[in-house]
Symmetry: C2
Subunit: 427 residues, 2 copies
């Protein structure tokens, strides 16, 4: 049986998953492609470090170029993480006419367009299924199965860390700090959780989803976003009483030529399938103009699930090696025809803390009315205390107009503070 | 731009969806494949029939062989339904070296292995994504995205008609007959609903899923199955009180060498993602040894969703036309190494109607004990009537042993009847 020679860049969490899958599922993989996926060399930081995986010492190297420049190696698997040097490694591998599989969301979100072009020029493949949603086949579904569709809407829960934290807050009544600590203990959050909890990780992934589904490039830093650090137990409880759950959502919507895209903690109706995506699970909800509603659900991170997507890509590439077929890059869209509206308008959930005196609700409602903001529901939760929460769900409104109204409301002496402003998606 | 010439066999519900998608999404499809999918000829039963779709009269023919034997046609799209003559049409098209896309579950379930072999021998593709789960990318996910996995378990809600009926029974308290009538009014059930409500349709699809995921052929008629006609409002209510929903499930499980496969109305826990798959929606839950739990959810039928899958397949084939790449048939598995246990053992829900006298529960429990059947829960629902229901959930037991115990229980004069025996999957 023919060997396909693999260079593995990285033997961390995902790298080990890839290694284990190739070992455990060697027979079915060989049956599938009629060839053997043989790891030729593995890049690690320290070849002498002790590892919880049984890998022959002679496979390891600390020199990336021993792999990237090895003419015998057919395919590079990049599972290092971070933008530099993985970007350079991927680029030079493609230029050396090696196929590349990567799980690196940061590189694909920031340099994907350029790298896909280089891959095409060099007649090799660059695949990145594992970069969004771990083991869930999101990229394949968008580029292949849904290719007969125009995508109208994508709404995703694509960060396991924050979904775990929000689930724990909702189900165990923990506050944010305790839920974060628990997530760290369980290995669902990193020691420095900033990128996850501030929504940066989701913005990287949404940028990839947008370029894959709509063919346009929105740099991650241009995606309006908010993290989950300001979500309180009270918000989750009030939302629940109103029939909603709070999830950190990545949203991209195309309506005529208006294109909306953003990352926010958002209230979604309890009965929607996305609302039952709990703990570390991820899901992408897609609406296409032919297929209608579709949802993909599974493990968005972890050694084996992410490894499953990486090895899936390796197998797809192996199947076309030696043929003159190219999967090719996703369609290039035309941003110039789209009106990029970013956040767009939305319904909002507002928690306003007020002094419990007659007339306060009337004064707030009057101010909203003055700015043309109508209210879907108002709930006053407790009574008999000096300070009480008022909870509002507005109808659809622009954020800038909402801010003007809230500024005026805040200047009223009976208003103690605007505690929360959260988007509501009535999916 | 190059034309790819399509012969469409059938202009019913799915055929119209295909036609409309090619029209509506012409531009993005052309961008994607760099060619034009041009319908050359359409087979219909009566070319003079009036239709709710605007198709040029000269495209229509009543002679299948005008299409199948036309050397200009590159690809046949079969959306007729039924086994004969579609089987013959597909076979001859492949022998004429035309690629084939079909939505025909009956043909693929009964002749798929042979047809895939003929496709391979003739260097053409046979794709059938639309045959299971309508627009949901189930086949692509199993054959491509999950190719790094060994599949351990598949549990699917893959019939929209029965899921709609069961949802209406649960949510509106309808009985089976009324829910079926409503489904027929809404177009979710056919005038003759037998194949759907008796589980035959699901058995066809499960046979395809098994051959796709496990590489082995189990003829649909060898799949143990039960339909939903005997499910009562009471069963749904009792199940709900115990924390379960009743769904018609297609199940295939591999544990070591034991292979279990069957179609039954089944109790599943309310918190499981499959439990929230409502109305006409379908979903497939898959467990792979690398990816872990994965669920695909969407519309399992309908003109446009099913058309989405058909056109997706047409695009995939178009992309490889003119290259020497073959997607090829799924892996051929080895049935001889598997122990085909069909139904296997299960937990069971039992509704036994008894005379309300002291000691009756003890007598039943004693008989279960005699046959080594232990009980997870027992609920006596009403009191103060001569006849009361007893509801049991057993621990795992073989159906044959359960039947022996129930036969003995039934012979007791205090037992008025065994009203329901349903499987329970504690997913």
């Amino acid at each position: 049986m023919k060997d396909i020679h693999i260079g593995l860049l990285g033997l961390g969490n995902i790298g080990k998953g890839v290694y284990r899958i190739l070992e455990t599922n060697e027979n079915p993989i060989q049956n599938h492609i009629g060839a053997n996926l043989k790891i030729q060399k593995i890049l690690v930081r320290d070849i002498h470090k002790s590892r919880d995986i049984d890998v022959a010492q002679e496979l390891l190297t600390e020199d990336a170029y021993e792999i990237i420049n090895d003419p015998k190696i057919d395919m590079i698997v990049e599972v290092l993480g971070g933008i530099h040097p993985p970007y350079e490694y991927i680029k030079e591998s493609l230029q050396n006419k090696k196929h590349v599989v990567t799980a690196n969301k940061a590189v694909i979100a920031t340099h994907g367009e350029e790298l896909l072009k280089i891959a095409k020029e060099n007649g090799v493949e660059l695949r990145y299924e594992a970069s969004v949603g771990g083991g869930i086949p999101i990229i394949n579904t968008l580029t292949q199965s849904l290719s007969a569709n125009q995508i109208d809407e994508m709404v995703g829960i694509i960060n396991g860390t924050t979904n775990y934290i929000l689930t724990q807050m909702a189900e165990s009544g923990m506050d944010f700090d305790d839920a974060l600590k628990l997530a760290q203990q369980k290995g669902y959050a990193e020691a420095d959780p900033t990128s996850d909890i501030e929504g940066e990780d989701v913005a990287f992934k949404l940028s990839i989803l947008i370029s894959t589904a709509f063919g346009i490039q929105i740099p991650p830093e241009n995606i309006p976003r908010a993290g989950i650090t300001k979500i309180s137990k009270q918000d989750i409880e009030y939302a629940s009483q109103l029939g909603y759950k709070i999830k950190l959502l990545a949203v991209a919507k195309k309506q005529d030529n208006d294109f909306e895209f953003h990352v926010h903690p958002t209230l979604i109706p309890t009965h929607h399938p996305l609302a039952s995506v709990s703990n570390e699970f991820n899901a992408l909800f897609v609406r296409g103009n032919a297929v209608g509603e579709l949802m993909l659900y599974g493990k968005g991170a972890g050694s084996m699930p992410t490894g499953s997507a990486v090895v899936g890509d390796m197998i797809e590439i192996s199947k076309i090696m030696g043929t003159n077929y190219q999967c090719g890059a996703p369609v290039v869209g035309d941003k110039s025809t789209l009106n990029l509206i970013g956040e767009g308008s939305s319904q909002y959930y507002l928690h306003i803390q007020v002094i419990d005196k007659p007339g306060v609700l009337g004064r707030i409602a009057t101010t909203f009315g003055k700015y043309g903001i109508s209210l879907e529901s108002v709930v006053q939760r407790t009574r008999g205390e000096a300070s009480v929460p008022l909870v509002f769900i507005t109808h659809e409104v622009d954020r800038s107009r909402l801010n003007q109204a809230l500024e005026e409301i805040q200047s009223d002496e009976m208003i103690q503070g605007i505690k929360s402003i959260l988007r509501v998606e009535n999916l």
